[in-house]
């Protein structure tokens, strides 16, 4: 029997809550994976690895939804889009307490721009409990400025129902006719 695999990618700056969010909905404890690049590297040193957070939701015997959190530090040098293969959607978490969340938003939506155009983006703003400014309305207008259409929610990555809402918004955006 064949297994269906789907992938949801969580991205955003360090500390935005990616690991926590994946943890909140994953069936398995979160795993820090080092993805090995294939064949070529076997003969080469140093090792070729790309570190990601990994979680999993199993649906019955043969359906799996893989949850990936992008690595944190690489920024300019990282080729973000190579992570998106097989992905159905991108969840961008932005930390409201960072010095300039608008620039964070620009950076990540730019890094994943092709994927966002083809699939679906959902934005979650974390740490609004610590700092209320900017507000959701600001994020809405920033997305408009960047010509991106996406749901924006306030979330606390530690709260499972908030993370679930992000995934719901993703799935319903992809197909409003889904039933439960």
């Amino acid at each position: 029997m064949t297994t269906t695999n789907k992938k949801i990618i969580f991205t955003g700056p360090v500390g935005a809550g990616k690991t926590t969010a994946i943890e909140a909905i994953s069936d398995i404890s979160i795993i820090r994976t080092d993805e090995y690049a294939s064949d070529m590297t076997k003969s080469r040193k140093p090792q070729t690895t790309v570190a990601m957070d990994y979680g999993l939701i199993r649906l019955g015997e043969n359906e799996r939804v893989h949850l990936y959190g992008t690595p944190g530090q690489e920024r300019f040098d990282f080729m973000w889009d190579i992570l998106t293969k097989g992905g159905i959607g991108l969840i961008l978490l932005l930390d409201n307490t960072r010095p300039d969340p608008y620039r964070d938003m620009k950076f990540y939506t730019n890094a994943f721009r092709d994927f966002i155009q083809q699939e679906q983006l959902v934005v979650g703003i974390t740490r609004l409990d610590l700092q209320r400014k900017p507000g959701i309305n600001d994020y809405r207008s920033w997305l408009k400025e960047l010509s991106i259409d996406a749901p924006v929610f306030e979330v606390d990555a530690r709260d499972r129902s908030d993370v679930t809402s992000l995934v719901q918004a993703l799935l319903y955006s992809l197909d409003p006719g889904v039933t439960t």
């Binding site: 926590t20 069936d27 820090r32 994976t33 090792q47 293969k85 319903y172 197909d175 439960t180």
Partner: protein, 476 residues
């Protein structure tokens, strides 16, 4: 493009950090396989050089003196050097693929002369990337942008050791497949292998130290939001009845005006609240809405919070919202500085009754309309939801998510939506009333929505199972 063969472009990597080398090799080994092939420098048709890496530029200069092949230059800064193609960072695979195309055009056996073709190509690259460059420039001005805030840096420093040990490397395993570098057709069967094999390191659970600054942090964590888990189902249903009404019959564009389910928003507290919201947003000041009973709401636009002296979930609040007001029963007040400091004290002490500002308006709007349609609204024009409501902080009722998704994708009126989505019309009406009050709709621009709609929906079964799983609570 004589050289645009099916063979990969032979490239050699000059000095580059191990990390970047890893990323590039990862790409070259996977989805970039058919485009690039890494070879020794002597065989290379082109070089790949990271100008941001110390010493790389000198190495490149020495190399091309001996062997003048074109180069793909990776850099955060624009590079306008002859016989090179600049790939700006952040790198994308698409930009790398394009750079290979551009290199092919300047290779010796093309009909272009090397210099002019390279020049023309570079120009094109430069203008294509202008918006990106602007972004990069703005990012470079502020080195802090992608760093951590001061607090996080301190907190992170404390937990750094546990993270370092969690990052422990493990033995290379030939069977370990790459999930993302796999060049097949979208789905990632390699994921299977990843989970199946034990070449994954399971770290310690996240450290408690990571959880938050205790004392001294802002007291805004108290925004009350509905906690459905504490209500039993019956109570929840009663609340939904208050928010959405209980109508089971659908009204249509043709007969809604004869319906008994109509109301005039102008007659209620809601109207004063909307005035207050607009006033506070335009004046950027705190605005108090005072009822003749002495109860009040305080709108705090700078922090997007609202305080209500009456609990939103109380019977009293439902009554206040649902009872038409006689003229002059409500007044708007701009508190003085002294009043403000008194009010602030109340708000802090009574944080349970401090709500998300949109949350207060949303709930008020729903309790007021109670599933009814506004007598004065233009309900025939198609509207589009321009922004999703912040559903995680608004009081919930069934079907809000699919309604938001469809209304965001496709313009329509209340009656269209009820038809398109097979859900109780009262939920569509409630959503409409709440989101309309918040100003989240726009008149349809008549864009070509149809094309988007045409695509058949894949994965519906899987999505549905995933949703059931998440909403049902699943194993977590």
């Amino acid at each position: 493009m004589l050289n645009s063969s099916n063979n990969p472009l032979k490239v050699a990597l000059l000095s580059i950090s191990p990390h970047n080398r890893a990323i590039l090799e990862f790409f070259f080994a996977g989805s970039g396989k058919s485009i690039f092939q890494i070879v020794a420098i002597k065989e290379a048709e082109a070089l790949v050089v990271d100008f941001d890496h110390p010493g790389a530029r000198q190495e490149w200069e020495e190399n091309i003196r001996v062997n003048p092949v074109p180069a793909i230059v990776l850099s955060v800064k624009e590079c306008d050097v002859e016989n090179t193609v600049w790939v700006p960072k952040p790198l994308t695979s698409q930009a790398l693929v394009q750079s290979a195309e551009q290199i092919r055009q300047v290779l010796p056996d093309t009909t272009y002369s090397v210099d002019s073709a390279a020049g023309a190509e570079k120009q094109r690259t430069a203008s294509d990337m202008s918006s990106l460059r602007e972004l990069l420039d703005s990012q470079q001005k502020d080195k802090q942008v992608f760093g951590l805030s001061g607090w996080q840096q301190r907190e992170r420093a404390k937990v750094a050791p546990s993270f370092a040990s969690a990052g422990v490397a493990y033995e290379a395993d030939d069977s370990a497949a790459s999930v993302v570098a796999e060049s097949g057709d979208g789905i990632a069967p390699a994921d299977e292998q990843l989970i199946g094999t034990d070449d994954v390191y399971v770290p310690e659970p996240l450290s408690d130290n990571e959880v938050l600054p205790g004392a001294g942090s802002l007291q805004l964590g108290q925004v009350t939001t509905p906690d459905e888990s504490e209500q039993d189902q019956e109570k929840q249903q009663q609340r939904w009845d208050l928010l959405c009404g209980q109508a089971t019959q659908r009204v249509t564009a043709a007969n809604w005006q004869e319906s008994t389910q109509l109301y005039t928003p102008e007659n209620y507290l809601l109207n004063s609240l909307i005035d207050a919201l607009n006033l506070s947003r335009t004046s950027k000041q705190y605005v108090q809405v005072i009822l003749d009973s002495g109860n009040y709401m305080l709108l705090m636009p700078d922090v997007n919070l609202a305080y209500s002296s009456i609990d939103l979930y109380s019977e009293l609040f439902t009554d206040v919202c649902g009872t038409p007001l006689q003229g002059g029963k409500v007044k708007l007040h701009l508190p003085s500085t002294t009043e403000l400091s008194e009010l602030e004290e109340v708000v802090v002490q009574d944080a349970r009754q401090t709500y998300d500002m949109e949350g207060l308006i949303w709930t008020t709007s729903l309790l007021t309309s109670h599933g009814r349609l506004s007598r004065n609204a233009d309900l025939s024009s198609p509207l589009r939801l321009k922004s999703w409501p912040n559903l995680t902080r608004l009081e919930q009722f069934p079907d809000a998510m699919p309604i938001a998704a469809l209304w965001h994708e496709k313009a329509g009126n209340v009656f269209d939506l009820s038809e398109w989505l097979d859900v109780p019309q009262r939920h569509v009406i409630a959503f409409f009333n709440g989101a309309h009050t918040l100003g989240l709709f726009e008149v349809d621009q008549g864009e070509a929505e149809q094309e988007k709609q045409a695509a058949p929906k894949k994965n519906r079964g899987l999505f549905s199972r995933l949703l059931k799983r998440l909403l049902g609570g699943g194993k977590k």
